[in-house]
């Protein structure tokens, strides 16, 4: 019996093989893009559980939609579009989980260990600060900022992902970043005092 052919290494061939039913190629394709999909979902949804739900939905949608992918855009752009829609769907249907902490006046601080070996507080604080700041943005602004600053998509690609004009992309990113500046710096300056784009 002849051994199965090796899984293609370049992405176009991988996509073609996956579309033709090669399960190993599909597995490789999903694993290659899963980290970026999860990163987008984690930043847009803001918590691990919703991010995993959205990631799972995105991977399933990607598999189901693969036969229709025609290569006109980059595969990653198409995957991000699916992931973003999955996240926005998740945000729309999520229920807020109660935040539970130590009882008041307990007097015993919770030790949150960070097993990467770096200072506990700073890494956790950085992640929490970013999550909290992103959570203050409207979902549409958050998605635009994440696609730009996490996924490194250009404005045209983000416009394609979000199905909005490039000018709207530019506006949402700018307004999202401005709001993040206020949140992360603790600056109390009213954002309305900053110069804004002409109406």
């Amino acid at each position: 019996m002849n051994p199965p052919p090796p899984v293609p290494l370049d992405e176009p061939a991988l996509i073609t093989a996956a579309q033709e039913g090669d399960r190993r190629a599909l597995d490789r394709l999903l694993r290659d893009h899963q980290p970026a999909i999860y990163a987008v979902c984690r930043r847009i949804t803001g918590n691990d559980a919703d991010a995993l739900d959205a990631t799972q939905d995105a991977l399933i949608a990607l598999v189901r939609g693969l036969p229709r992918f025609d290569g006109r855009s980059r595969f990653s752009t198409w995957a991000f579009r699916i992931a973003t829609n999955s996240c926005l769907d998740e945000l729309r249907r999520q229920r807020r989980r109660p935040l539970v902490g130590l009882p008041e006046n307990d007097g015993v601080p919770a030790d949150v260990a960070n097993h990467r070996g770096s200072p506990v507080d700073q890494r956790v604080a950085d992640a929490l600060a970013v999550d909290e700041a992103l959570a203050t943005l409207p979902a549409d602004f958050r998605a635009a900022v994440v696609l730009r600053d996490i996924c490194q998509l250009d404005y045209a690609e983000i416009a394609e992902v979000l199905e909005i004009p490039a000018g709207t992309v530019r506006s949402r990113i700018a307004r999202g970043r401005a709001q993040l500046v206020e949140q992360l710096s603790g600056n109390q300056i009213d954002p309305s005092e900053r110069p804004t784009s002409a109406p």
Binding site: L52, D53, Q56, L59, D111, N114
Partner: protein, 288 residues
């Protein structure tokens, strides 16, 4: 006399940052002090987003995500069941991760059970199910043997068991084979009291809390998987317990892990709300 141009807007400066601005705007942003200052602020936000750490997914979780997606490729397109509130009853990644973890645990239990000649628990309560072997007396015998499982769990070396599970090719789950029994830790007034009880060891002789419903294996494994992932723990949970704090059930997990402070071997403990797996308390127990 030409009037000064209006100050650059956030939208223009943001576009400069992204390389999407007109050349004249980009040039102005480099020379005007206010524009440069604002550009620095926007750039700092972009850097913060890029540098903020993301929890790494455990291999088991990733495998579960991929497996579920691959399985969906074989199924006809059917809308997933949605509850009345619009929220799916069981997160799909949990189903996938639970399937992978349960298969791994089941395989590990079969192999270890053959070697030891013991019946091992498949329920989180620690009560053994001996119906297949003992017939009519299975219920009572199961409960009696269930009470002995905590001693077995606490006494056996965790590292060896988990290494054995990995060495024979079975995928590691977030639970070591002998840790699937949930130890009853009793009732506590506050989390502080629970922490004090766990400070030196995992109590195995606490009185059982009567009338409480045992957590399901899926719940136990789901929270274990999430804690392993969130805290990037290298080993599965060695001990698992259930306690009642201020009238609310919590799950308690013990993991062997390097200390975040100095890398020395330590025991990391999390206390979790069963439904959401939210960590209500976590700390290191330093030996000595």
């Amino acid at each position: 006399m030409t009037s000064e141009p209006p100050p650059l807007t956030d939208e223009e400066l943001s576009a400069v940052l992204d390389g999407e601005a007109d050349p004249d705007i980009a040039a102005r942003a480099q020379v005007e002090p206010a524009a440069r200052a604002r550009l620095d602020e926007l750039r700092a936000v972009r850097l913060a987003l890029g540098r903020a750490p993301l929890p790494a997914l455990h291999r088991t979780t990733i495998d579960g995500l991929i497996a579920r997606a691959l399985d969906e490729s074989d199924q006809p397109v059917v809308a997933p069941p949605v509850s009345r509130s619009g929220h799916t009853a069981t997160p799909r990644w949990l189903v996938a991760a639970a399937i992978v973890a349960l298969v791994a645990v089941g395989l590990g239990l079969v192999w270890s059970g053959r070697d030891r000649g013991n019946d091992v628990s498949t329920t989180a309560s620690g009560q053994l199910s001996n119906r297949d072997k003992s017939g009519a007396g299975g219920g009572a015998d199961g409960k009696a043997q269930g009470q002995s499982s905590p001693e077995r769990s606490s006494g056996s070396p965790r590292g060896g068991q988990t290494d054995a599970a990995a060495a024979d090719g079975t995928p590691r789950s977030e639970l070591s084979p002998q840790s699937t029994a949930v130890i009853e830790l009793g009732e506590y007034r506050t989390l502080s009291d629970l922490r004090a009880a766990l400070k030196t060891s995992f109590p195995t002789d606490s009185p059982s809390a009567n009338g409480l419903e045992a957590p399901s294996q899926a719940t136990v494994e789901r929270c274990a998987a999430l804690m392993t992932q969130v805290f990037q723990l290298p080993n599965p949970a060695g001990h698992i317990g259930r306690a009642r704090v201020a009238g609310r059930d919590v799950l308690v997990y013990e993991f062997e892990a390097p200390s975040a402070r100095d890398g020395a071997a330590t025991t990391f403990i999390t206390v979790n709300e069963p439904q959401t797996c939210d960590a209500q308390l976590s700390f290191e127990r330093t030996p000595g």
